[in-house]
């Protein structure tokens, strides 16, 4: 309770602070109006991803951007995360941060003060509703568990627990630093702190795993989990220890057909327990979806802070009409230096053209079981509706006829059966999208060059 009051108080101050710092007065009113009606201008809001790059050890399957720290520099890291948050929020001119996600690495290694500091910074430079989802990835060790309460006090209101497996032997193979017992305890504690807002991550397709053992594991998990489950198939990534082991024949992973069966089996089981699949790997009960992740799939803006973080937003500037794909410097040391020198560690900026933006919207949107509804598409492509783009293609027709794809008054989406083939369906859709857009461009070009564009192309 205390924390909530604190946060609310902070926010009561900070937005107005920000308002003053902002130059053009007219916009502020507009913003508030948008916020109230619940549909702010897309470029005025974004979600925020914060990357904590450190881990205590390397998991055998993980190729993420993570580092085993040699010395404690939590303090500097925290300062830099704050500093970059501040810089990028200003640059993006975002007035409302819709959600925050602390990922890693192992963000549950960060002191709770870091979370607190970053959230404070966010609130200082943008509006962060106290209802906004603030998720923290948690490594289910005893140490992690003990800190959960502090995190929540700092403002975290959703916890994503990396359970991965309930088999201790498998956890060892995966190089995890916790036991299944510790994981279960952590889930319990998390549910106590954030009831209805706890997610568990589990992995299938692990070495030696069978469909039967997976089924057992799932039912065990369903007994203890909260309202959200993320399922990931273990993918062998180059450069990981597991990759080498499998390549060298020391380890085998289940065959393609077996993992397909595991996936289907999990979908069925979860469905039977009231978990609706809302995305390829994500299942929720009682509408407990991850808002932060959903905003990725809906093609909304996001700001990435921290070493190697990615972002997609329209930056302030003369050419500031196009969304940029931004990547921060990978290596923490270098990133820290850059942030200290120029306020941010953005290493790469690539402007997304109209087609590229639509491609991302399509690829991400189709991962959701609801797919892309007409309104959602129209926000990005006001001139060319879903039916116009996809309705005429013979290849798309085949997908529709085979029942894998659905295009109706509601949306373009995969059927239950089609979703497992999404990566085969997408190339067909991408080919069609490109063709339609380039045809459209040519037609516009021919008709005349004066009208169109700018105002219509969303960001």
């Amino acid at each position: 309770m205390i924390q909530h009051t604190l946060r609310a108080g902070r926010r009561a101050v900070s937005p107005s602070l920000r308002c003053f710092s902002e130059t053009s007065g007219g916009e502020i009113i507009g913003e508030d109006g948008f916020e109230r009606t619940g549909s702010p201008r897309p470029t005025k809001q974004a979600s925020l991803y914060v990357h904590w790059p450190y881990c205590l050890r390397r998991c055998s399957y993980c190729n993420f951007n993570k580092y085993i720290p040699r010395e404690n520099n939590d303090h500097i890291m925290t300062e830099c995360l704050q500093r970059e948050t501040e810089t990028l929020l200003q640059l993006s001119q975002v007035s409302c941060v819709t959600s925050v996600f602390f990922g890693g690495g192992t963000p549950s290694l960060a002191p709770h003060s870091t979370i607190d500091a970053v959230l404070n910074t966010v609130s200082r430079w943008a509006y962060l509703s106290d209802k906004a989802e603030v998720t923290l990835e948690v490594n289910p060790t005893l140490a992690g568990k003990s800190k959960l309460e502090d995190y929540c006090r700092a403002g975290v209101n959703r916890l994503s627990i990396g359970v991965q497996s309930l088999q201790d032997e498998d956890l060892k193979i995966l190089g995890r630093d916790h036991s299944s017992h510790q994981a279960l305890q952590t889930v319990e504690e998390a549910r106590r702190l954030c009831p209805g807002r706890v997610s568990v991550d589990v992995m299938f397709g692990r070495p030696k795993q069978s469909v039967a053992s997976w089924e057992n594991e799932l039912s065990e998990l369903l007994r203890v989990c909260d309202d959200h489950v993320s399922l990931y198939q273990l993918t062998l990534e180059r450069g990981t220890q597991l990759f080498k082991q499998v390549l060298g024949g020391e380890m085998t992973v289940p065959a393609e057909d077996v993992t397909a069966e595991m996936y289907q089996c999990a979908r069925r089981t979860l469905h039977q327990h009231g978990f609706l699949q809302y995305e390829v790997s994500n299942f929720a009960r009682h509408k407990a979806v991850s808002h932060h992740n959903t905003s990725y799939w809906k093609g909304r803006q996001y700001i990435g802070v921290g070493p190697g973080a990615h972002g997609r937003f329209v930056p302030l500037g003369e050419e500031g009409v196009l969304r940029e794909a931004r990547t921060q410097t990978l290596e923490p040391g270098a990133w820290i230096r850059e942030v200290q020198q120029r306020g941010h560690g953005t290493r790469r900026r690539i402007q997304l053209g109209h087609l590229e933006l639509l491609e991302e919207v399509l690829v991400m949107g189709m991962r959701m079981t609801d797919g892309i509804n007409h309104k959602h598409w129209e926000m990005f492509s006001p001139q060319l509706g879903l039916r116009e783009v996809f309705g005429t293609s013979r290849d798309v027709q085949e997908l529709l006829q085979s029942g894998q794809l659905i295009l109706d008054d509601r949306s373009l989406r995969c059927s239950w059966d089609g979703l497992v083939f999404l990566d085969s369906i997408l190339p067909t859709l991408l080919v069609e999208l490109e063709r339609q857009i380039s045809q459209r461009l040519q037609r516009d070009h021919h008709s005349d060059g004066q009208t169109k564009s700018r105002t219509c192309s969303p960001r």
Partner: protein, 675 residues
């Protein structure tokens, strides 16, 4: 017209399978030590080193040689024949140096530069002819060394060269002994009734076993041991004896200056500035600059603009006399005007034409397609330029639904094809898809209507899609070759079963000494064009050598095999096979397709059929799941890249019904297998 081999090819991976196997180390070594190839400028380059040494017996610098000083009885025409890497070019270099044939002229620089480019690419294109002037017992002799390409693919060229000679130097490596090509070349010379001078080279090598090789020569060729000349071309040891033997053992050409002029065209080059340069052997009379000559083949007349000796660079003279060998430039604009084997005579004194040669026949065919259709024009001009100097390559336009527009090229043999491909890649930087080689089949038509249509009952089938149906054919024929294999006897068993497996029929088997066996097999050419050589090499640890000569056509039970994808035929994969091999060929094609067609959302049946009968089948299982587990903000870029690549690939796929086949799959099935 002809290729000869530069040593460096041997190190190029493509060539390994065709060239001779053992002893790369030595090749490299010899390259470093001596640097001989068959390039003119290489010889010329040596001049500074040797000019001071052994110029004694030669002419005086730039002065025109008075060829009338060399009556027929002081002329010797000979060539050197050897298995690859037995030291032919090294010996040739020595002979040139010892007779001072390497002359510096003002033209050198230009020639050198021009050929430098070729040299860098490591290919010798033309066999060389060099006239050597040699003093023997106080007399000057004109020795015409007519160099020959080393490989049996070019035995046609070898026989052409031989026809201008009266003697040969048969070189055998003192370490390796008689090899397959030694045999082939020997018989060519033997049949042409030439004087054969056996030379055992590389006697300086540590492992040289000269005695054993002499025994082999005696056993296999019936050459008395004491006739063999033991030399080291590398060190120059005893090379003088070779020159002496040429004078003493090779008879002078049977030609008379008092006859009317008559010359045999045995080779030709194309020069962009001067037109055709024909190499001729004068068989009677004399010819001089300004004479009007006639080509017996075309009946066209030309004026002689330039003529002379090849030493080995062109050395203009006023005349050429009976018995001599040289070059002639007479305003021919097209290589086809200087038909190999043609007879030239004076317009004023017509003579009976010489029997000439049968034109070289393409025996191995392969499709060549640009990797990307936008490179079509570039590839076309590359092929045109390459074939300009090699009329033995036949070129036919071809197009494949899978691979686009391209050509079907015919080659004299496998090495010929390799050489051509390599030049195409190296000189023109062309990415070429080369399809698996096929051979020309024949069919004897039985339908009168078809016979009328084709103009004869016998037709040659190069493109499998044009294979006539059994019902209109009385007989199919396939080309045969007589293969010679030389191997240490410990591999005999394995090699015999390989040959049997390739439908080979053993014709002969002989121990040429107590360890080495020579076997002769009659093979269908089709059975040896793809991977026979590689297999032979690998199962004999590289010790066996192989060579073949064409042996006409034989009736064969040939059938057309189709490949179906989910029941729909794929035209570009139609194959002609022998009935007995249909199953294994069909199975391997199906397997290759199975490996290279990506799984799709439905099952794909890959079938090989003959008529309506399925003889092999592989199934590409439908995948049951294809979706990336995880995709959040940070994963988008990577995921997009992957999907975009797939989308691009999709545009390029060929579709059979709803089966999508990437171009790579066709390439994998159609192209030659990598080793």
């Amino acid at each position: 017209m002809s290729f000869s081999l530069a040593k460096r090819w041997c190190d190029a991976p493509l060539m390994r399978r065709v060239l001779q196997f053992k002893g790369y180390r030595r090749k490299i070594q010899s390259y470093n030590n001596m640097t001989y190839t068959l390039f003119r400028h290489r010889w010329m380059k040596r001049l500074p080193v040797f000019s001071g040494l052994k110029m004694a017996s030669t002419h005086t610098g730039k002065d025109t040689i008075d060829l009338s000083k060399f009556p027929v009885d002081r002329i010797r025409n000979f060539c050197i024949i050897a298995h690859i890497d037995h030291g032919k070019s090294t010996l040739a270099d020595r002979l040139l140096e010892m007779t001072g044939a390497i002359v510096k002229t003002d033209k050198n620089k230009q020639v050198l530069d021009k050929l430098q480019v070729e040299r860098e690419r490591g290919i010798t294109v033309k066999a060389q002819t060099a006239s050597l002037i040699y003093s023997h017992q106080g007399q000057q002799y004109l020795l015409n060394l007519i160099d020959t390409p080393g490989h049996v693919d070019f035995s046609y060229e070898v026989s052409r060269s031989i026809s201008a000679c009266q003697g040969v130097l048969l070189i055998v490596d003192a370490n390796q002994g008689i090899q397959a090509q030694t045999m082939a070349n020997f018989y060519l010379a033997f049949e042409a009734q030439l004087a054969i001078i056996p030379v055992i080279n590389k006697i300086d090598l540590k492992n040289a076993d000269t005695e054993r090789v002499e025994l082999q020569m005696e056993k296999v060729f019936d050459i008395p041991r004491n006739e063999c000349i033991r030399i080291s071309a590398k060190l120059g040891t005893n090379v003088e004896a070779v020159l002496r033997a040429v004078v003493e053992r090779v008879p002078p050409p049977a030609a008379s200056t008092s006859d009317p002029f008559k010359a045999l065209v045995f080779d030709s080059n194309f020069d962009h500035y001067r037109g055709v340069v024909a190499n001729i052997a004068v068989l009677g009379g004399r010819v001089r600059k300004g004479d009007r000559i006639v080509s017996a083949y075309l009946g066209k007349s030309y004026e002689v603009n330039e003529l002379g000796l090849l030493r080995p660079d062109e050395h203009p003279t006023q005349k050429l006399f009976a018995g001599q060998v040289g070059y002639i430039i007479a305003g021919m604009k097209d290589v086809k005007e200087a038909q190999i084997g043609d007879t030239l005579y004076l317009q004023s004194q017509p003579v009976e034409a010489l029997p000439g040669f049968k034109p070289a026949k393409a025996m191995v065919f392969a499709g060549m397609f640009p990797m990307d259709q936008s490179d079509y024009q570039a590839l076309r001009s590359a092929i045109e330029r390459l074939t300009l100097n090699d009329s033995s390559v036949t070129v036919q336009r071809d197009s494949s639904l899978a691979l686009g527009a391209g050509w079907r090229l015919g080659f004299l043999g496998l090495l010929h094809m390799e050489v051509f491909n390599q030049r195409l890649e190296q000189e023109y930087n062309a990415s070429v898809i080369v399809t698996a080689p096929t051979v020309p089949y024949k069919a004897i038509l039985s339908s009168p209507k078809l016979i009328k249509e084709h103009g004869s009952a016998e037709i040659t089938i190069v493109n499998p899609a044009q294979f006539p149906d059994r019902s209109v054919v009385s007989e199919y024929l396939e080309p045969m070759v007589l293969g010679t294999i030389l191997t240490p006897d410990s591999y005999t068993g394995k090699i015999m079963s390989l040959c049997l497996n390739r439908r080979g029929i053993q014709k002969n088997m002989l121990y040429i000494d107590d360890q080495r066996v020579m076997m002769k097999y009659l093979f269908p050419l089709n059975e040896i064009v793809v991977d026979f050589y590689d297999l032979l090499k690998s199962l004999s640890s590289g010790y066996a050598s192989f060579d073949y000569e064409n042996a006409g056509y034989q009736a064969a039970d040939l059938i057309k095999m189709n490949i179906l994808l989910n029941g729909l035929p794929v035209e570009e994969l139609i194959t002609i096979v022998h009935r007995g091999r249909a199953y294994s060929v069909g199975k391997s094609m199906c397997e290759r397709l199975q490996d290279s067609i990506p799984r799709q959302m439905f099952e794909i049946a890959v079938q090989a059929t003959i008529g309506s009968k399925v003889i092999a089948r592989e199934t590409i299982k439908a995948y049951r799941k294809n979706v990336l587990a995880k995709c959040y903000g940070g994963d988008i870029t990577r995921k997009m890249k992957l999907l975009k690549k797939q989308a691009e690939g999709k545009k390029k796929m060929r579709r059979f019904g709803n089966v999508e086949v990437p171009k790579d799959a066709f390439i994998n099935v159609l192209k030659r297998k990598d080793k």
